[in-house]
């Protein structure tokens, strides 16, 4: 078992990791920038080390400063949280090179899955369906034309070195394609120092469905799926489990495919395998793997009763997987919404400020993961996530009723937040019927954003 853990992150996820470590009797060390001296993760950890100025690249992304803090405080392990260095292969390697345990996969596993083309090939080799397109990089425009027979239009031309929605072009016909392909190669070279391209068919009305896996390097299990179709600019805002769109048969195939891929790459730790699901064709396609704990992991914890962060820490401490697949079952339905410091009525403009009165929702089936406290000044230097409100009910309908109740209880005075968005979404007939896809929210916002009224006290 791990003895002393450095938490290389901030905000709600740092608090979440500290809580899991405490439950396992592991001592914790927080790190903080100048902007986070008063942060909750600093208050809750056993020790805290200052690592630099507010700019992330001079603090939370400074591998040298973080490793020095771990060594100086006698830590034996480092948890990266999500974001910052969580999927940085060099960081995983550097932690290991210092003789410390990285709570997550090896640098090699992060590199493999971080390379979109290699990840796609690994999935294909493991028998996981991938979106129709090129099997690897496309060497020439002649080869690209041949692939179009498989994909048809519209088709995406993607930079092999891209990610997070960057380096993508869509062609709707051959003329657009002939023009876009060389331009995409030149742009990829300029932006990423690598002109490599690959191609994928555009799946029209798709849902975003992802499978949570846990691996110990030898074996792997799944903790079922989450649906995250409500997205804005490719950012998830509402996540739930299980997905209402899947039949039991498709769910079984989907989850089994994720386990095959995790085993094939010898995955260690908590990971998420992301898919697009096409309702009309009743088919799913691998898109990418996230080699870290994700923001939306609590919805899986609520329906399975598994503490995923604690399992990560146990695995990192050298224990083999404790959970067998037959022990993991789904109970009820859970929904998570992301409460961000943004004004949803004004194009989600960020709204950092100082928390006045704070009323945290509670009662049966409600969980609130956050770093807020009354008087906390939210810094402008980091992302806008203030809190995750997670609800659980016997059915999806009951979970939505609980979500509405919990949102009504929640009060964060002094800030504008995305709370009014979720109150409106919970009342929307399409959301209530789970009849949504990945582009649904943006068109809904075009019609409804102006009607979202902030709480009177903000």
């Amino acid at each position: 078992m791990l003895r002393k853990l450095l938490v290389a992150n901030r905000g709600e996820i740092a608090v979440r990791v500290i809580r899991a470590a405490r439950d396992l009797g592991i001592a914790t060390v927080a790190v903080y920038s100048d902007a986070d001296r008063d942060a909750l993760h600093v208050q809750l950890a056993d020790e805290a080390v200052h690592i630099g100025p507010p700019a992330p690249k001079k603090s939370y992304l400074d591998i040298g400063a973080i490793l020095q803090a771990a060594v100086d405080t006698g830590c034996d392990s480092v948890h990266p949280g999500y974001g910052f260095l969580a999927e940085n292969a060099a960081f995983s390697d550097a932690v290991a090179a210092k003789g410390l345990v990285f709570v997550g996969p090896s640098g090699d596993a992060i590199r493999l899955m971080g390379d979109k083309v290699a990840a796609r090939s690994a999935a294909h080799a493991a028998g996981v369906p991938v979106v129709p397109g090129s099997m690897g990089r496309v060497a020439s425009i002649e080869e690209a034309r041949a692939i179009l027979i498989d994909t048809g239009f519209p088709v995406m031309i993607k930079a092999a070195a891209g990610g997070g929605g960057r380096g993508i072009r869509i062609a709707n016909n051959l003329a657009e394609f002939e023009k876009a392909f060389p331009q995409a190669a030149a742009e990829a070279l300029a932006a990423f120092g690598d002109g490599g391209l690959y191609m994928e068919k555009v799946i029209g009305r798709a849902r975003h469905i992802e499978v949570q896996v846990l691996g110990d390097g030898a074996d792997a299990v799944h903790c079922f799926e989450r649906e995250c179709s409500l997205q804005r600019r490719r950012q998830k805002v509402w996540e739930e489990a299980p997905s209402l769109a899947l039949s039991d048969k498709v769910r079984e195939e989907l989850c089994a495919s994720a386990v095959r891929l995790a085993r094939a790459v010898g995955y260690s730790g908590a990971g998420t395998i992301e898919y697009l699901y096409d309702d009309a064709e009743d088919r799913f396609y691998f898109i990418e793997m996230n080699t870290r704990i994700q923001v939306e992991h609590p919805v899986t914890e609520m329906i399975t009763g598994i503490d995923l962060v604690a399992e990560m820490l146990r695995i990192a401490g050298g224990e083999p997987l404790r959970l067998r697949q037959r022990d993991i079952a789904v109970s009820g339905h859970a929904i998570e919404v992301r409460i961000n410091a943004e004004d949803p009525a004004r194009d989600f403009v960020p709204f950092p400020g100082t928390v006045g009165d704070l009323r945290v929702p509670g009662g049966p089936g409600v969980r609130f993961d956050s770093m807020l406290y009354p008087g906390y000044a939210v810094p402008p230097f980091y992302d806008s996530l203030l809190a995750k409100l997670i609800v659980h009910g016997e059915t999806r309908e009951a979970a939505i009723v609980r979500l509405v109740r919990a949102l009504a209880e929640l009060r964060i005075a002094g800030l504008k937040t995305t709370k009014p968005l979720f109150t409106a979404l919970a009342a929307d007939p399409a959301v209530q019927a789970a009849d949504v896809h990945t582009r649904w929210l943006e068109s809904w916002l075009d019609q409804h954003a102006g009607t979202l009224i902030p709480d009177p006290e903000t």
């Binding site: 507010p54 700019a55 943004e342 960020p350 950092p352 402008p380 230097f381 980091y382 992302d383």
Partner: protein, 77 residues
Amino acid sequence: MAQILSHLPGTFYRSPAPDQPPYKADGDSVAAGDVIGLIEVMKSFHEVKAEVAGTNIRFVADNEEPVMAGAVLAEID
């Protein structure tokens, strides 16, 4: 003399990207509506525009400097 203020708290950038020249150099003239910098707040970028025209812009805030809402970024004559 007029001041150009930041409407948001965050990090001030004088150029559109690290490898590109600044929007304005000290001493440049500005027209109303010209972009003079970016404020990064919570991982999103917002343009700072001059509200009035002027000559001889002088930057008060440094590139990549943390600023509060209402901070003076530059002065123009």
